[in-house]
Symmetry: D2
Subunit: 357 residues, 4 copies
């Protein structure tokens, strides 16, 4: 059930509806919008009586929700959500006019590497830095990340360059530690239906970046986000990173048509990760352009941490100057859609006219 308040409803009236919901043993999720507030109800097993709520002062309508997801739906919140990252003064918001650029080195192996990479991507316009401290790996015998040591390096990256830190959390207990260092909690594709973890990050104060599972349908993807919102954390960003198909010319098949599909159904912003999505360096820039053109709210790009050591690179990570080229190109395309990148501000371009698609 979704309670839509009248535009002129007072805060007191909203509170009274929430109290009523609580008294019935359910949970109320007030979601203030630009025009008016909507209140989602969760925790009810069967259908509710509309009349019981429509009789309350300030209520415009009580809508039974048929879709399996509620809180992530545009039916409950028409305008797109803006997710603020970092401390209030950071000024970094995802889902608005400016695209988010998250750069990440393929692995954090030392402070030197991480700081060198951070310096380069900061210069190219990235505001967000993703570093893997705990890496879920297919094999138990490959490097599983530096753990807390990496988290400390990431904290230093933030201190020195003002980059906000995105890092993955892999289980509920581990989340306690990661929360101390990160600005954004990432839930990886393999954990998209790890419901214990989804509930745990749903109780966090930090925004969550939720990657689509390798074979997740759109509905399953939105339901995973619903788990986080249902616990009270509304700051969720989605991320498409390629799905598993028969096609063998790239590691995964980047499903860009999911972007307009998400935009239609949900108010949550969605990013694209063309590095994992293609697994090949020479595909990253073209697919990054396409992701921006299709309407994504941002990009996650793997950048080589050590520009002096070009030969030992990860197969899919861009060299820093390729990343700069990418930022330049997507900034131009963003301009066509009436959007900007952090680079637009630096170079003074892009924010300009644009047909405002």
């Amino acid at each position: 059930m979704l309670i839509v308040m009248k535009p002129q409803a007072s805060e007191e009236e909203v509170r009274r509806v929430c109290a009523k919901v609580a008294s019935l043993g359910y949970r109320a999720h007030p979601m203030p919008g630009a025009q008016r507030t909507a209140i989602g109800i969760t925790g009810n097993r069967g259908p509710l009586e509309r009349e019981e709520f429509e009789a309350l002062p300030g209520v415009a309508e009580a809508i039974p929700v048929s879709k399996p997801y509620k809180l992530v739906s545009r039916e409950i919140k028409e305008e797109g959500s803006l997710i603020h990252l970092g401390p209030p003064e950071s000024g970094v918001t995802v889902g608005g006019k400016e695209l988010a650029l998250i750069a990440w080195p393929c692995a954090i192996e030392s402070a030197e590497q991480a700081l060198a990479a951070a310096a380069r991507v900061r210069r190219a316009g990235a505001r967000l830095f993703r570093g893997g401290a705990f890496k879920p790996r297919t094999s138990p015998y490959t490097f599983q990340g530096l753990g807390e040591e990496a988290l400390k390096i990431l904290a230093e990256v933030r201190r020195q360059f003002g980059l906000l830190i995105v890092t993955e959390t892999v289980d509920p207990e581990n989340c306690d530690l990661v929360e101390k260092y990160a600005d954004v909690l990432q839930v990886g594709a393999r954990n998209m239906q790890n419901f214990s973890l989804l509930k745990r990050v749903g109780r966090s104060k930090l925004p969550v970046l939720l990657k689509r599972g390798m074979s997740a349908t759109l509905e399953e993807f939105l339901m995973a986000a619903e788990y986080v919102l249902a616990e009270g954390n509304y700051n969720v960003m989605l991320c498409e990173r390629g799905v598993r198909t028969f096609a063998d010319h790239s590691r995964n098949t980047l499903d860009l048509s999911v972007i307009p599909a998400v935009k239609r159904l949900s108010h949550l912003p969605i990013l694209v990760d063309p590095s994992h999505g293609t697994g090949r360096r020479d595909r990253v820039i073209p697919l990054a352009r396409a992701a921006v053109a299709v309407g994504a709210d941002g990009l996650m790009i793997e950048v080589h941490p050590n520009p002096d050591h070009a030969l030992s690179d990860g197969y899919q990570s861009l060299f820093p100057d390729e990343f700069e080229k990418l930022v330049e190109q997507v900034t131009a395309i963003a301009g066509v859609l009436g959007r900007t990148t952090p680079h637009s501000a630096i170079s003074g371009s892009g924010a300009s006219p644009g047909p405002g698609i």
Copy 2:
């Protein structure tokens, strides 16, 4: 085996190599390039002796080809192929700086409809008109196309609007008829591995538009094109139209990452069909933008033939003014990549600078 001639090799020397190949019972495919000519050899069952050819005058190198495809490969022809469509004076070329725009009504049911649709798409900048005369349909009980009557209507569309006609041929015998009317022969996704048909269009003088099969790997797609080239018809355009996956939010999963993959391996141009690729009107424009941004050489777009009859539309076809909006947006994005559309010429925009990505 691929024979690479010296840059200064004479035509006589090329002819002599071809004669040698023929004398061995194989087939020679001379492919003149900007710098020099390469000659592909097909028809040999086992490996050939390099020395036998390298001894001939004018030959730079004889290269054993490991990939299963030869004639479609960039190894044999480094620069991208330009496919000229229509009579010499048409000036329509696919694979160059200008993107191809193929518009098509969801069905040709009468001359009036077809001509009305043609007038609108011509105005929006399309130079190519696709009309279904023989429609391969999943069910034997649904409309299979008007047949030759539709071909005559298409001829009238060409006469009145100067649009070039793209139409599908469904079997070798049917090809005899379609050839009389069409400017471009289309081979549909369901026939991508109909080798009898591929050989037949390979013996045609008309250019071929080959759509990717629903579950074709990149290699199978290129091998299907190889069938056409191996018969002597080098004017092949590829077209990505979505592949079959578990994802159910769109009819097919448009695989845009195949565009840079084709570009890397083959000299053939490749278009994208976002109408079939998504099956939903509201996804067509975003995916068309993405297709241009990723580097496609053109678009096939389904446009509603009857703007006065909005309710009875096909689920995936754009209304004419949506098509105009699409052309405007992709022209702007093409400009960012240093490319143009036929609309650029009309509006004077787009051809301008652009970072020339």
Copy 3:
């Protein structure tokens, strides 16, 4: 529309209904059943009036058919179809108690090979011999079959061993030739939606073996069969041969769950091809056992044509003694289901009790 006649309806009454259908410009498909005759109507674009038919003498009911397929449906013919192969005296029937065993050498390269292979598989109980005369190959440069020469060899196999000949036809024109030699026309997976070919074999007097396309849904598979039946050829056998998925441990993913699904919806028999379905010799026997256990009406098995030349084998073909072992095992499993194989008759086993599942 489906007209169900009363059990006691006369042949004259059936004829009168058919004439009525023809007079309306549609096509009638009388299908005699054990209890009563049903008449399918095809060729109508819109819905028909039930009353118009229910008023005719001998008609029990006129049923509007909602599914896109009609003639292949169990709604039109409740009991499973029995397809008789070869001349009347052959005694080979598919879809009944006895399973069909089709053996085939990986290629027919000479009369000696074919005859040697035929002798071995005949001894093991096979009644059907599949030989590839025209082979649809992914590459234009690989062996495309011996053509008519192979057909003549197959005719000799029939003459010497009494094996019935199954062979593939690849286009409508080619069908004229193949029909002269074959007992069963095969339509391959790549041609499952080659509608020109489906219509052509629908006008043949020979039974058709239709293989499932690599990414065909169940509905598309049944619709392809519907094309054949709609032309008047009701003798269609289906064949599951694996679908294309992400799984890379076998060449295709054999979809055995489609067998009970087909059995529920359609009266047509369905075979399984575990050789193409797995692409690996060591998987063929286990999957053949599973195919029989799940309820398939027969098997197609690739057998090595030359037992003396074991090293040059096709990767997926069984050696003759492995084929004999397979026949023995599937005969035992067939016995558990109350079914037999041609081998049961030879060995005297299997036909015996069995719980009659």
Copy 4:
């Protein structure tokens, strides 16, 4: 690296090799076989020196392992593993001649239901009872299981009927609780790459039932099992439960060809779950027969808990008498392969001759 001991090597010699491995900072996994002991080494980042180990007394060979998995591989342990479940006196072993039958009600909602279901499935020959206490559900709003209350009911089922209890654990913390009640820990398909959970169950004393992820390749599946073995728990049973494909006629596509593929590569037993694999009651029995015929070591079958309440059933669960029919049929097929079911012992059948395939 895999150390293969000589057949006559003493326990002391095995201990010495393990001590050597530990002294290098790695982990030794001694795996006693029928003929001789092999010792897997994990924890090493780079390659090891063979000579260092081959010099030790009792060592036959030190083999560098190229496959990404080691401990699950047949290279390390040639004969199939036998996993003993429950207390020593239970006599239930998976991977041997007798197939495992795990029956499970679609949900445990009360003690009455669970006990009634248990009585029926016990009578039909099941020795293992799976009950869902903590259910990972796609939606946060659907029933998530009764939790510890269900575990107590399951303990009562064990006490009254001697059934061993299989139940799912969903995160490392939850595992502490589940371990107190269960005989077998299940890791569900959605958690197949939840590496924190895999490590936790790897430290448990209980055997683990690991279900294949929805889009897991064979290698990823084996690597997930490797995580469990690498922590020291070698008692792992695999379970195929259907993969995600385009096919829409069943909920998932049961990939039976993975059974012989696993058998070839790994010594671990593998079961099949045709209930989840098909999602439809009328497919469960045919696919259960096929699973046994292909060589699976057991079945997991959903059985309706309340035979008196037939209408409110889960769509995929068998009624108790259907389950009995299934057991009868698979027992007969198992007999053909020279295997038995717990029902064989009861009915006195099946264990008998059989060609011993």
